[in-house]
């Protein structure tokens, strides 16, 4: 071992730290032949002894007031997390309730939209399945002619109801078709079946006509045996009237 190597190991050698046994023996052997390194080792040992003295005499402790302060801080901090926990728990419940309400609202909207779509796509079919008990079957057998286009007696006769289970299909076919601009309005409407206003013979003689949208007092519903909410008797209700080319009203339906 030379002086440079000894310099690197002197501290650990004096402090008695773990080191390789061969290196330790070599370092001690070097001090016997190098007075300078021997003096360095002596200084290192003196330093180690002094540091141990300092360490052993250092018995200082923090004043008691520090303990009181940190214990007070601990108590204060122990309260804060509890409040925070309550806030967190409450917030979780609020979030859960809000989420459930939002989901329910979305589901309701979807269901409503689906039902509206179904009603607008097949209103007659729904009516056919659940016919109004107040509307007699016989009047519903009548069918109006095509809107704005003169219809031949044959076509009118062909459009006469056949009192069969395919009434819905007949009604759907006989229903006046709105143009594209008004389709949304018509799709959103719910209407009764057409109620004939004359006997079959006069209806069969109609050679053409048109459908007119009119507004009538709600009391008109009662005239045709339909139910009416008495609280809304002062209101008006829309109706489609089939008018022949002769100017006579042939049939009527009520629209909501």
């Amino acid at each position: 071992m030379n002086c440079h190597d000894f310099e690197a190991a002197a501290g650990e050698l004096a402090a008695g730290r773990l080191m390789d046994a061969a290196q330790r023996e070599s370092a001690f052997a070097h001090t016997t032949s190098c007075s300078r390194c021997a003096a360095r080792l002596s200084d290192e040992r003196a330093l180690t002894a002094g540091l141990r003295l300092v360490a052993n005499t250092s018995v200082e402790e923090a004043p008691a007031r520090i303990e009181a302060t940190v214990l007070a801080a601990f108590r204060q901090n122990a309260i804060v997390p509890e409040i925070g926990h309550l806030k967190t728990t409450r917030a979780r419940w609020i979030y859960a309730a809000a989420s459930a309400a939002a989901i329910a609202l979305i589901a309701a909207l979807i269901a409503l939209f689906a039902s509206r779509t179904s009603e607008s796509q097949q209103p007659e079919l729904r009516k056919a399945i659940n016919p109004s008990p107040t509307v007699p079957d016989a009047p519903r057998q009548a069918a109006p002619p095509q809107q704005t286009s003169p219809a031949s007696p044959e076509s009118v006769a062909a459009s006469k109801p056949k009192r069969s289970t395919d009434r819905a299909r007949n009604l759907s076919r006989s229903r006046p078709q709105p143009n594209r601009a008004n389709r949304a309005t018509f799709d959103a409407e719910i209407a009764t079946d057409y109620i004939p206003l004359m006997n079959r013979e006069l209806f069969a003689q109609m050679d053409g006509g048109q459908v007119m949208r009119v507004e009538l007092p709600r009391s008109a519903l009662m005239s045709f045996g339909l139910p009416m909410d008495m609280e809304r008797a002062s209101e008006r209700i829309k109706a489609d009237v089939v008018v022949g080319n002769d100017g006579l009203a042939r049939a009527i339906r009520f629209v909501r």
């Binding site: 690197a8 501290g11 402090a15 360095r40 200084d43 290192e44 003196a46 330093l47 180690t48 002094g50 540091l51 141990r52 003295l53 300092v54 360490a55 005499t57 250092s58 018995v59 200082e60 402790e61 923090a62 004043p63 520090i66 303990e67 302060t69 940190v70 214990l71 801080a73 601990f74 108590r75 901090n77 122990a78 997390p81």
Partner: protein, 217 residues
Amino acid sequence: MSAGGLAVHRQKMTLQTTSSDEDLLRRMTAGDEDAFAELYRRRQSGVYRFALQMSGSPAIAEDVTQEAFIVLIRIAERYDPARGSLAAYLYGIARNHVLRRLEQDRAFVPLADTTDDGATVPSMIVEGDPLGDLTRGERIQSLRDAILALPAHYREVVVLCELHEMSYIEAANVIGCAVGTVRSRLHRARALLVEKLRAARDRDSNSKEVKPARCFA
């Protein structure tokens, strides 16, 4: 002492004798004040002495000790046992606060701790053999001064490895550096201390030399 009181007493005795730092910390985070008090009493002395040996100021040491444990209260969940002991974690917190304080106080001229009548307060009480203890006390004080005169990065390794007898690994955990860095810094710090002590010893030996004087009697 009642049976209940005896049980509590035994529980506290068990707490003091068998609970590890990690157990105390776990109970502390669950709100157990006794566990925190025990942990404080177990570790406050080391933290306080570390801060005192690093700063040389009892006021700073008190502040740092208080801050270290308050920080432990607030961020106890950040302690990871896999990365080192709780003591090293506390020393690390204390180290950061000490260095911060030293940085803040660098611009100020330190005042010596004095009593009301202006006398300097001894940093260590010496009892018994006054002459021998005075020599030893001077030696200790000179070494303490030499340590305080070291740069902070050398001072902290001396305090941790020599005065608190930490291993290189523990010191590296506290400082947040490599073990080799601790070893090299300690080596350099010891060399600086040896130089300072040798210089002080030379001054003392020169001042004690007897100079001849003429007698006019």
